[in-house]
Amino acid sequence: MLAELPASRWNPAAATHLLNRAGFGGTADEVSELARKPAREAVRSLVAKGTAVNPQKPPSWAHPDPDRAARLKAFREASPQERERLQREQRQTQRARMVELEGWWLDRMVRGADPLREKLTLFWHGHFATSAVKVRDAYLMWRQNDLFRRHGLGPWRTLLREVTLDPAMLIWLDQAQSRPPKPNENYARELMELFVLGEGRFSERDVTELARSLTGWTLDRLRQEPIYRPRLHDPGVKSVLGAEGRLGLDDILDVLTSRPDSDQWITGKLWTFFAGTAPGAELQQSLARCFKEQGRTIGPFLETLLISEAFHAPEVVGQRIKSPTELLVMACRQLGRPLPAPAVCANSLRLLGQDLFHPPNVKGWEGGVAWINANTLLNRHNLALLLVTGENPLPTTPRKGTPSAPRTRRGRPAATAPVDLAELLPKTDRTSAERILEILNNRFLDARISAKSRKVLGDYLSAQADLDSQELLGLLRLTLCLPEYQLC
């Protein structure tokens, strides 16, 4: 079993780490409140928030389209030009909704009552990476996002079944169109390679046999629901990973999830996401064993992970590079500012390399140091300017057809309001450079500022004739550009 964090090491610093990783960071009050609870209770309070009410209702269009039949009929009967116009309209509607959906999700991360669930939803979105570029239906993308929220903490097998039959996934990896006698291999391959087992743990024959087993499951395009059509199922005998018989979806899920490879794969992925480093061989074994013993249910496993001594080790704490989404959400929370408009957020995240609902491929985002290169780092530094001053230095290159960010008269895209300095750095706190740096260090850098960074900020402060709002905004911006700010 995994060794638990000794009670003697459970303190506000550990609570800060927990809130950073299991959510999107905490305020000083949230940290001290959590640290007052016993560690086990503290972790449980984060994992079991499920019943708390979120302030955000789903988007108004987040339901099956009631006019779909009429719409499809009108489309079939339209002239070619008319058809083109309808298609264009549909594309524009869907793209605008995708921007709205992205803003809606980010808002849940910033203000929602259940940050761990949103963080885990972000993990599942990267794990079962599905892109709106191919799905082209905002309702289906929302539905998948909500699936992760509803089933993300539950039994692994149930989650896999839901994902396999999720309409967006059925479209994304072509299962919707898979038919005997030549079934489409796309979903079968990625199910084993990326979702459950890992590359090299199955044969090419397993891919084709698994694809045969899943035939029959397809998409009811009118009702936007998965459907099983018996006449499209290949009823023959198949052989997948050593199991033989007239296999169907449920047999396949049993075969896959009972393999030790599967326990290792998914727990290793979860560990890497939350801890920020890949687990060593021994730790990997322990994680897989815990998962199996806990009935292969995600929630209890996460509890064990978050309270483990290994998760609170020095090589883990403060050593994980924030993903673009985490950077944006955490910065808004720390700055005490609202999110910029959805179109601005969508544009920023795309430039930083994490275009939500549009992952680069089915493997999702690589994460870690792959987030950082000269281009994305400069964009991070310029996002800092946007969040602090409200001015948008990022180029707006919206995806074709999406609403672009509003612009000021000078032609620069206007982003949003500046931070509220009176709230963030009250005048009574601006007594000395030392005091100001202390506040920033605690609030933004979890008290981990390096000597060099402290000197840069100190030099900046002493070069200013006075400390008015412009100078303080400059200081905040520099703080958000520090290398240590990219970590948490």
Binding site: E185, A374, L478
Partner: protein, 444 residues
């Protein structure tokens, strides 16, 4: 007096060091130059050195519908829906032609600027996008794993001490192919925004503005040992390769190094991008836009040896016809525009373009008018100095010759790399590829 150091500084990348580079950076470069002169190896980073432009066709390009066999019964039998009509094909020889959308390739071919290497692949092919991309990017055997890219090894071996811009990946991500022991290479999307914007929205050089302190902040790396094997920059583009998170160096070191690279290259690139214009038009596509930027940077004399671009969307499991038509049209048109522009800019003799894709596709179509993951496929080289025409052996489509329904390769992709390294980048391929691969005469 011209010392060797000052000479190198003024020629190798002198033009790129703008006056805004702070003293500590100049010192850093001096240090680098000293290192190089000690080794007595001039890095190949001059303005006249050859440039390689790599275009990745991410997703697995269907080679058989790119270079199409003519009068081949096996082809039409395997592809009742997807088989291309002989009369639509851009016939090059009696037995072979290009996909109808490849007017660009036909033009390049007719002008003697296109080489086609047939049946390129590797032993024990892997049908995973991700694994096969890694294999192509690291140039390893299919059962071996590496976290260093083949271009990264070229940087390590032949461009030691060169600037960060020795490799430029156009886009938001840097590919695994660039990952090196001594990380080099930057990702660049838009030169206008490739900079730190100060509070007033202007340049970053006022004494009191946060810009100058930003520079100070990024100077924190200057006394750390250069060439410290920190984390390499490999990552995901469309298929950027699997990045190893376990290579040495702390995340903080890595962030500091990247910030320094970003700042120095941002000065160079904006200066060049502002001074140079393209000389001929490009079609409207992302790939064409990316190539347009590359042409400007080449003309501007950026000391870059390898540019890296990606065109995604080749994973055509369903309804392949329209998608593939569009992709190849974009590819051919963009490449021909690029070669024309380079010619007009007087740069064409020092640029070679190479395409690759992680695999070709299955010979037989699937039940959805698409194709599943396959193996060997053709690869293309373009430029005024390629040895134009056909290289390697044509694929054999006879079902008895296939391996699990896939084409067998006859040219190892590392033979293509070795030929380019030796004949184009003029370096010994052995230390880069680990062993000797037979070369093909690809450069005239």
């Amino acid at each position: 007096m011209h010392t060797r150091r000052s000479f190198l500084k003024s020629t190798a990348w002198g033009g790129a060091l703008s006056s805004t580079v702070p003293a500590f950076l100049a010192a850093t470069f001096d240090h680098l130059h000293a290192e190089n002169s000690d080794r007595d190896v001039a890095p190949a980073t001059g303005k006249d050195s050859p440039v390689l432009v790599v275009i990745q066709l991410a997703g697995g390009n269907d080679g058989l519908n790119t270079v199409v066999p003519l009068g081949n019964d096996h082809y039409h039998k395997a592809r009742p829906k997807l088989g291309l009509e002989p009369k639509t094909i851009r016939k090059i020889r009696d037995d072979v032609g290009f996909h109808p959308a490849l007017r660009g390739f036909e033009e390049l071919h007719d002008e003697g600027r296109l080489a086609i290497v047939q049946s390129v692949g590797y032993p024990n092919p892997n049908r995973s996008h991700f694994r096969s991309t890694d294999i192509w990017m690291t140039a390893t055997d299919s059962d071996r794993f590496s976290n260093v890219g083949w271009i990264g090894r070229y940087f390590d071996n032949a461009c030691a001490g060169g600037p960060a811009t020795v490799g430029v990946a156009v886009g938001r991500q840097s590919p695994l192919a660039f990952a090196a022991k001594h990380p080099r290479g930057i990702a660049l999307e838009n030169p206008e925004s490739f900079r730190f914007t100060d509070l007033d929205g202007g340049a970053d050089n006022q004494a009191k503005g946060s810009g100058s302190f930003y520079r100070q902040m990024n100077s924190s790396f200057d006394d750390a040992p250069l060439g410290d094997p920190a984390n390499a920059g490999g990552s995901v583009a469309m298929l950027g390769g699997t990045h190893s998170q376990t290579s040495g160096g702390s995340p903080l070191d890595f962030l500091e190094r990247t910030a320094l690279d970003a700042q120095v290259s941002s000065d160079q690139i904006r200066e060049i991008a502002n001074r140079f214009r393209n000389a001929s038009p490009y079609p409207a596509s992302k790939l064409a836009n990316d190539l347009r930027l590359v042409a400007r940077l080449i003309a501007g004399g950026l000391g870059t040896r390898v540019y890296y671009l990606s065109q995604g969307g080749y994973d055509t499991h369903t309804n392949q016809t329209g998608a593939h038509q569009r992709l190849l049209g974009v590819l051919g048109d963009a490449m021909v525009a690029f070669v024309k522009d380079l010619k007009a800019l007087g740069q064409s003799d020092r640029v070679l373009v190479m395409t690759f894709s992680e695999f070709g596709r299955r010979v037989a179509e699937n039940g959805n008018a698409g194709t599943d993951h396959g193996a060997a496929a053709p690869l293309f080289l373009a430029g005024t100095r390629v040895r134009a025409g056909w290289h390697g052996k044509p694929p054999i489509l006879d079902p008895t010759s296939l391996h699990n329904g896939d084409l067998r390769h006859s040219t190892d992709f590392r033979s293509v790399y070795a030929s380019i390294l030796e004949q184009w980048l003029r370096t010994d391929p052995r230390p880069i590829l680990g062993t000797t691969f037979p070369t093909l005469p690809l450069v005239a």
